[in-house]
């Protein structure tokens, strides 16, 4: 039988967090355990009375809880971070979103994690708590490989500081069906546009195309400081295919993933890169 600890305060959690496997929403860990993963002791991080609030809005950024259900975060955001909301809208199912946390999605370090690319394009910084106190780490540094993270023993991700978008942002994923689909590829984007249509502050991040979620810097450089002309479209699509290192797996071939990520970038540029377009934040599977 498993031993389950349910600390109610951060101080209590700090005392015991190194003595077992941390569990948040459990929507991934319990599936792994059913498939044979053995854990002696689980320590719940999702029941803290003094944990961070779902959302805390500041002038330039929004602090969001890593420990509360994704559905609650999205409701509290009410559209303030369009790419995060778009990713959450196509994240698993409502039942899963009512338990799953962003902290869990980050710590599990799936290459296909849907909540991660929107945080990467925002240059979000995680607050990590642990037995030694707290520290900060950019979200992009949290995953070190498929299923591996850089957290030390007893550490948990507590909250995320997400700079507000200055311009537009969005998220798209391709999955086998509308709900409950692991991304075949996903792409988040963030950029600003001046009155001449020149794009700046361009950030792109993609999932399921490399061992971890990655930033697509070659493609960013092709777009930065340019208008979304046909030539820029062509060069940036070619560049993003070079940014990624996809594999063949049960969901798609590497070839398909290269084509698809190029298509997602092209669609985002066509729909959201001229001054008169809407705000972006388009989701969908």
């Amino acid at each position: 039988m498993i031993d389950l600890l349910v600390p109610k305060s951060v101080a209590e959690l700090r005392e015991v967090s190194g003595e077992g496997r941390l569990i948040a929403g459990g929507t991934d860990l319990l599936v792994q355990m059913r498939a044979g993963r053995h854990e002696e002791r689980l320590i719940d991080v999702s029941s803290l009375d003094d944990g961070p609030p779902a959302v805390c809005a500041e002038d330039d950024s929004i602090e969001i809880s890593a420990l509360r259900p994704i559905s609650r975060i999205v409701t509290a955001l009410s559209g303030a971070l369009p790419a995060v909301s778009a990713a959450a809208a196509v994240f698993a199912s409502l039942q899963v979103r009512n338990r799953a946390t962003i902290g869990g999605n980050l710590a599990n370090a799936s290459p296909a994690a849907d909540m991660v690319p929107p945080l990467v394009v925002a240059s979000a910084v995680a607050t990590i708590e642990g037995p030694e106190g707290s520290r900060q780490e950019p979200v992009l540094e949290l995953a070190s490989g498929p299923g591996r993270n850089t957290l030390r023993v007893g550490e948990w991700i507590s909250s995320l500081r997400v700079p507000r978008p200055a311009g537009r942002e969005g998220f798209r994923k391709l999955g086998g069906r509308f709900g409950m689909a692991i991304s075949i590829v996903n792409l988040a984007w963030r950029w600003s546009i001046d009155e001449d249509g020149v794009l700046f502050g361009v950030r792109l991040a993609a999932g399921a195309v490399a061992p971890t979620v990655i930033r697509c810097e070659r493609a960013e450089q092709e777009i930065e400081g340019n208008r979304a002309t046909e030539g820029v479209l062509r060069r940036s699509v070619a560049a993003i295919k070079a940014d990624i290192s996809p594999i063949d797996d049960v969901r798609a071939t590497a070839w398909y993933r290269r084509e698809a990520i190029g298509g997602l970038l092209e669609e985002a540029l066509l729909a959201h890169a001229s001054p008169e377009d809407g705000d972006g934040g388009i989701g969908g599977a």
Binding site: M1, I2, L30, D44, S93, L94, Q95, V96, F178
Partner: protein
């Protein structure tokens, strides 16, 4: 923990909420389908929100109020149940308790929903008989303006 309005005292806190509801409380209207959070047959409401009870440890929700399918009807059947009956939206019936609870949670939010939003609510409930046409019809009847 409160289940269907009654206070209960779970003993095995590290077990699944699904097993506590079915085996300890004997409320077998909650079904186990996949056991992996994919199918939604084990859906119950935790503080009004639908979750897969196969992916929750009892100790994580020991201070919560839980509604299983047995606790939904009060004096008369819930609107979600009446809509499912009216649309003949059950075949083998195994997914039905989960579908009904998802619809009940949707109705509790009180919004007039679009077709896409209704489908979004039911994304986590699989019907192995593939009777989705009638299930969506029930959902529309319950939810659309």
């Amino acid at each position: 923990m409160i289940v269907n309005g009654k206070t209960v005292e779970p003993t095995d806190l590290s077990g699944r909420l699904l097993d506590f509801i079915r085996d300890t409380l004997g409320l077998t209207g909650t079904k186990e389908g996949c056991g992996m959070g994919e199918c939604g047959a084990c859906t119950v409401l935790v503080d009004g929100e639908p979750v897969c009870s196969c992916l929750v440890l009892t100790g994580q929700v020991k201070d919560a109020s839980i509604t299983s399918i047995e606790g939904l009807a009060k004096q008369e059947l819930h609107k979600a149940q009446r809509s499912v009956i009216a649309a003949h939206a059950a075949q083998c019936g195994y997914c039905t308790p989960g579908v009904v609870l998802s619809l009940a949670a949707m109705l509790a939010k009180g919004a007039n929903l679009t077709e896409d939003q209704v489908r979004g609510v039911l994304v986590g409930n699989l019907c192995r008989c593939t009777g989705f046409g009638d299930i969506f019809e029930a959902a529309r009847e319950a939810a659309l303006p």
